[in-house]
Amino acid sequence: MTEPPLISFRGVARHYGEGGGLIRALAGVDLTISRGEFIAIMGPSGSGKSTAMNIIGCLDRSTAGVYRFNGVDVTGLTRDQRALLRRNYLGFVFQGYNLLARTTAIENVELPLIYRGMGRRERRERAVHALHRVGLAGREHHTPAELSGGQQQRVAIARAIVTDPLVLLADEPTGNLDTSRSREIMQLLTQLNLEQGITVVMVTHEADMAAFAARTIRFVDGRIDADTRREAA
């Protein structure tokens, strides 16, 4: 028996508004992502790449079509059920880092574990470990204001992986960083993908960054325009 694909879109569409003002952000997309892939989603703004990302991340729901996550149809899940799914299987990294201000790095990383109801000691241990993995050992008690952009994004990545998610969803993770910081972040994501086997789905508009991914999916006008795999060197 073959394992079901991790992420499977069948005719997934997302419409906003209605009547004459109807906007088809996603116009029926078929997409399959397997475990362990590193995928870059590209496309001009308004192409539907962010919408696709939000639906994959269970932050948004499709208007039509079927989305199966790990073989389970998640289309009809309630708000709280989707929250539980995010909590247990997904990690998010955003362009603007989205760390809690005036909250130390370790407290930020612990946050998802708090919602899991994990005990204080175990939480602390895992958070320290996650920060260590992203190369921030020794910065546990710095607040975002005391960290550089690259370091803040590392904290965000630590927060995303502290729960050992199946998928890491990164929305323009290097959008606010200079080239060398961006490369460091991409190397970190690649490393997590290769060493931990975490599936990485990343939205970016920079070809340089997309080049780190093994597979690039290009969106145009709410449809998949191109789906290319980099040949193993």
């Binding site: 709280d80 909590r87 989205n98 998802p112 919602y115």
Partner: protein, 402 residues
């Protein structure tokens, strides 16, 4: 999880210290006002009751004439006399003490000092009837009462005004144009419920008073102390019957005297005072409501300000009720904090007032507990709407919020 929410609430309150303090102020003022009002109020009503108790226990006061509280005052009527007193003495049962009294205002003089006071002619049972105890000396002897001896018993105000540190016992006090030997000094009773100084008094045997001060034999009033509280209505009815008989009030005619039950008056006054306390407390409670609305206002601002934070929490898997409880706990903590500070300030105010107004400090643990519970309830009620708003935010929208 709850502990985390409480910790989070404290963090958030600390990070917005100024705003939190201003929010607290509404609750603080409300709770302080209620606590102060109720505490001072029950102190006052306790004082009223204490004062009335000092008038004498289970007292019936008999006066000639029908007193009315409206305009016109007491109607003129024949005074009581010796015959009335002896008729009552021989007919009533269950009476602890019965004392006829006649009063007149007079100037008392000792040495170079003088003082205006009320002179009362009565007999020894008066002290029992009115629950007076002696600081020193003794009451009138039977022979002094019978023969109208030149002796008097004085209240503590007279001592302090005229004698100072001198021992008044054995001194000769001039009352009007007549002089008497001071044979006793009464313990202090303080102010009466009606605001008069009960210690500003000079007492002498009734016969002495009639001969030397009044120049007539009228008895202005009779005090009866009933032995058993439950017996008061019966004794009152019997007294009325005896008086109608003695004063020859015909059937169908109105009484030309009044028998007043002081216990009843005491209860009425205490009730009035309690009612007033409740009223003031209610007015103060309105300010609590205003404080609650202040909390809601600030919590709404806080939710708007922290939209992005809420988005982050929702994105990483916070459930609706977890976000709800976070904000709810925050508003409860705020309100409780305000409540506790308010209780302390209210008690301090009541304490200061009890010293200034000379009323007992009647802090009631039930009122304090209630204020505490009400504070928490305000946090729940006024925090719920903003908290629900936070919990229902769309994570995508919230994350985009600047």
């Amino acid at each position: 999880m709850l502990w985390e929410a409480v910790k989070l609430a404290f963090q958030s309150i600390r990070r917005n210290a100024m705003r939190s303090v201003l929010t607290l102020l509404g609750i603080v003022i409300g709770v302080a006002a209620v606590i102060a009002m109720v505490t001072i109020g029950s102190g006052t009503s306790q004082k009223v009751q204490d004062n009335l108790a000092k008038l004498g226990s289970n007292m019936l006061i008999l006066r000639p004439g029908q007193s009315t509280f409206g305009p016109g005052g007491a109607t003129e009527a024949r005074a009581f006399d010796e015959r009335t007193v002896s008729a009552l003495r021989s007919n009533l049962t269950g009476v602890r003490a019965l004392a006829p009294t006649a009063q007149k205002n007079a100037k008392v003089v000792f040495g170079a000092l003088n003082y205006d006071t009320t002179v009362t002619g009565t007999d020894s049972s008066y002290f029992a009837a009115q629950d007076w105890s002696f600081r020193e000396g003794r009451p009138f002897s039977d022979s002094e009462i019978r023969s109208g001896g030149s002796v008097c018993v004085i209240g503590s105000t007279i001592v302090s005004e005229l004698f100072g540190t001198l021992d008044p016992l054995g001194s000769r006090l001039r009352v009007g144009s007549f002089a008497c030997d001071v044979i006793g000094v009464l313990d202090s009773k303080g102010q009466s419920a009606f605001g008069t100084d009960q210690d500003n008094t000079v007492l002498m045997p009734l016969r002495t008073f009639h001969r030397r001060i009044a120049g007539n034999t009228r008895i202005g009033s009779i005090s009866i102390s009933v032995a058993e509280r439950n017996d008061i209505p019966r004794v009152q009815a019997e007294t009325e019957a005896v008086l109608r008989e003695v004063r020859r009030v015909g059937n169908g005619e109105e009484d030309d005297f009044t028998v007043r039950d002081m216990t009843q008056i005491a209860n009425t006054m205490a009730m009035t005072s309690t009612l007033l306390t409740g009223l003031l407390g209610a007015v103060a409670a309105v300010s609590l409501l205003v404080g609650g609305i202040g909390i809601m206002n600030i919590m709404l601002v806080s939710v708007t300000e922290r939209t992005r934070e809420i988005g982050i929490r929702l994105a990483i898997g916070a459930l609706e009720r977890q976000v709800l409880s976070q904000f709810l706990v925050e508003s409860i903590v705020l309100a409780l904090f305000g409540g506790i500070i308010g209780i302390m300030i209210g008690l301090a105010l009541a304490g200061a007032a009890s010293i200034l107004m000379d009323v007992p400090f009647a802090a009631d643990i039930r009122v304090i507990a209630l204020a505490f519970v009400v504070s928490a309830a305000i946090g729940v009620v006024f925090g719920y709407f903003p908290a629900r708003r936070a919990a229902r935010l769309d994570p995508i929208e919230a994350l985009r919020h600047e």
